[in-house]
């Protein structure tokens, strides 16, 4: 099912010294089922806000999101693992009807052997992978990735990119990847949308299927 996003108006209220700010104004976007779409643009333009609106976490806007699937996997910028549950328990909690699959998902992201560790012992890269495993474990119809490679060293980021690319293609879910790096977008997506300006507009919307087909 196609996801149709229409944001007539989204305003960030004034906060501390910052004045109120129009983030989106008559913004619309359609995502075909199974499409892997990257959203690039400068920091603070509203990329994460867009994901929150699509996921239903932010309902404080004028507009609508239609066709959004029930099962969502969300890789937040911070891993948001529950520190008082082990890595395995963090997965089990989202798949209560098939907890035995948790270990297999952790193995998929290269965390076999770290199942019974508490998240505070993980490096950021490992925690991101655990968070990715959690997002994949629910077998989402919509996968939202919020800067999954930021704040990682180059080698770790590269490994994570390969992992995400593999998993995303295997999953065949509609996927939105938010990033500020073009090369990350190009490596992963079928389509790259570039946001710019305030309020944010789509300044470029390019398919990059040929690159994928050549692989």
């Amino acid at each position: 099912m196609t996801i149709r996003i229409l944001i007539r108006q989204k305003v960030f209220p004034a906060w501390a010294d910052a004045p109120a700010r129009h983030v989106f104004d008559h913004f619309s976007l359609e995502l075909a089922e199974g499409e892997i779409c990257a959203v690039v643009g400068p920091s603070g333009i509203g990329k994460s806000s867009l994901l929150q609106i699509i996921a239903g976490l932010d309902r404080d806007f004028d507009g609508s999101v239609e066709g959004c699937p029930q099962t969502i996997g969300y890789l937040f910028q911070s891993p948001r693992l529950l520190p008082w549950r082990t890595v395995r328990q963090n997965l089990e909690i989202v798949i209560p009807d098939r907890p035995e699959k948790a270990s297999a998902w952790l193995a998929q992201v290269g965390l076999a052997g770290a199942e019974d560790v508490y998240p505070q012992r993980l490096s950021l890269g490992m925690a991101r992978r655990a968070s990715l495993a959690r997002a994949l474990a629910v077998e989402p119809e919509l996968l939202l990735l919020d800067e999954p490679f930021s704040a990682l060293d180059e080698a770790t980021a590269r490994g994570m990119q390969i992992l995400v690319a593999e998993q995303v293609r295997r999953l065949r879910a509609t996927t939105i990847l938010v990033t500020h790096h073009w090369h990350e977008a190009a490596a992963l997506a079928d389509r790259v949308i570039t946001l710019d300006g305030a309020p944010a507009r789509i300044v470029a919307d390019r398919p990059i299927r040929p690159a994928r087909a050549a692989e």
Binding site: L57, F76, S78, L82, R85, P96, Y118, P119, Q120
Partner: protein
């Protein structure tokens, strides 16, 4: 189990300081040589005497039961109230002044008024004790509720964890340190108040016994009851609170 807990709590110094205290007490009593300051031996004799004739266990049992019931009432109501205040600002603005008043009304006033209004009955005791404690629990848990992390709530919403799992795996673990603090302070406050309430209007319990022996100036028995009660509270600390604290701390590095 208990010995291990004492060791983990303070090492050998803990035990040594208790022995030192008993030693100083013995020396002080020997110097004073007065029936108003009996030594540890005399107190132990009184304790054994009261235990033999059954009075100790009867009154201690009744008092502990009262402490337990009023503790549970105060924790349940105080937690619910504190959560509500922490989550809804408007409610907090309305009820905060009441809370400040209740926090500062002397326990004795609450006790006297509940006895006057409800009569010298068991219910009055439980109400008086709970009323004294509920504001403390509510204030502590209000802080806990304010400290709840939105990030985890959003995660729970995305993965549709449901109300029960959200409560059990997301909210309670975040509140656990506040619950423990409220419970510890609560127990300390409640057992002191229960004794006063017993002293003022009940005809059994440790508070009543203390009152009787006070009138007889029987200091060894007063100290015997006090010591036995302190021992019970220490047992609760080591058998319930300390293990609970270790459990909630297990994930911290």
């Amino acid at each position: 189990m208990r010995a291990a807990d004492i060791r983990s709590g303070g090492g050998w110094q803990g035990l040594a300081s208790v022995l030192l205290f008993i030693g100083l007490w013995q020396i002080g009593a020997a110097f004073a040589d007065s029936r108003l300051l009996p030594g540890p031996g005399a107190v132990l004799n009184s304790l054994i005497g009261e235990a033999r004739n059954g009075a100790l266990f009867y009154h201690l049992g009744i008092t502990l039961a009262r402490v337990a019931v009023s503790f549970i009432i105060a924790m349940v109501i105080g937690t619910a109230l504190g959560m509500a205040l922490g989550l809804w600002r408007a409610l907090d603005r309305w009820l905060n002044p009441w809370l400040v008043i209740l926090l500062n009304v002397p326990a004795l006033v609450v006790i006297i008024l509940t006895y006057i209004w409800l009569g010298l009955v068991e219910t009055a005791l439980l109400v008086a004790v709970a009323l004294n404690k509920i504001p403390n629990v509510a204030v502590t848990l209000r802080e806990g509720a304010r400290a709840l992390d939105r990030d985890y709530a959003e995660m729970a919403q995305i993965y549709r964890l449901g109300p029960w799992t959200t409560l059990q795996d997301i909210i309670i673990p975040q509140l656990a340190p506040y619950l423990l603090a409220a419970a510890r302070n609560g127990l300390a406050l409640i057992w002191k108040i229960v004794l006063v309430v017993e002293l003022l209007g009940r005809s059994n319990g440790v508070g009543f016994q203390l009152q009787s022996y006070f009138q007889l100036f029987d200091v060894p028995r007063v100290l015997a009851y006090a010591a036995s009660f302190v021992a019970c509270v220490l047992l609760i600390e080591f058998l319930i609170f300390a293990p609970f604290e270790r459990r909630i701390d297990v994930w911290r590095r």
